[in-house]
Amino acid sequence: MDAGQRLTDANFPEHPEKATLEGKNKFLGFWLFLGGETVLFATLFGTYLGLRHMNMDGPSTEELFKLPTVFLATMLLLTSSLTSVYAVLALKQNRVRTLQKWFIITLILGLGFLGLEVYEFMEYVHEGHTFTSSAFGSAFYTLVGFHGGHVAFGCLWIITLLIRNWNRGITLVNAPKYYLFALYWHFVDVVWVFIFTVVYLMGKVG
């Protein structure tokens, strides 16, 4: 069977994302990549933890952070993680329209999160907390901004994936792609769990 052919309910494999050698390789390679990403974020977390009290004349973490905005952003990202797992469930049942619907909701929630982050950063700059204002500023924007960059990249990724495969149904070629995007999106949420805990909540107790 041609791997680019639309799958039917009759010939649909149990794990379409791992039904081809290419799919298997992508699956393993992506998990190893996520292991590496964990270490990459760890370096940024370590730096932030070391430098978070060095705010010079700028505002301290306690003065700066607004928990309601952070809470809202957390809820948006957590819900988008759920909707992307719903899309994977639709993938396993060969329901391409349901998959597209859930991924679009995921995308909208992701964009909402990005909007909140941009708003938050603008407020901080207004209060004199910038990338170059202190060691705390540099460490903060590198860590949180790098996570935001991951969200932005994920949004571009899913837009491209959806447009490219809009009328194709689920095939053995695009099933691994959808699946890996969902893994990536969960991972971005995992990183955010540590950001809201280590950066924002711990910033409030000093």
Binding site: L34, G35, G46, T47, L82, V85, Q93, L183, V205, G206
Partner: protein, 113 residues
């Protein structure tokens, strides 16, 4: 002959039903883990927001909550508990191990300097 065909369709129908039930079950797991994660998040925010928990304990407490939440993500939403995830588990856990050493190492180096 007709009988034979009949059993075959029955078996097929049975399999389809089994699969459907399995998906329903999986969906339920996802919903339960979503509710759990919301609760963990709420507890973490409340512990800090309310100012009722002593600071040093609160930090430890919210870190534990974060770790629990990450396990929900990895095992239920990213399907690490499913079959055929031996190598991904190795990759991820060696990543987490190095990450832990890195955080402690870098933060410690800056702190002591």
């Amino acid at each position: 002959m007709a009988d034979h065909n009949n059993t075959e369709t029955n078996i097929h129908r049975n399999e389809a039903l089994q699969r459907k039930l399995a998906f329903k079950e999986e969906r339920k797991h996802h919903n339960v883990s979503f509710i759990m994660m919301i609760l963990l998040t709420l507890v973490a925010f409340y512990a800090i927001w309310s100012d009722k928990v002593a600071d040093s304990f609160a930090v430890l407490f919210i870190l534990v909550l974060a770790v629990v939440q990450v396990f929900f993500q990895l095992y239920i939403w990213m399907h690490l508990s499913h079959k055929g995830h031996d190598f991904p588990l190795w990759g991820m856990f060696s990543g987490i191990l190095i990450a832990a050493i890195t955080v402690v190492g870098i933060a410690g180096m800056i702190w002591t300097s």
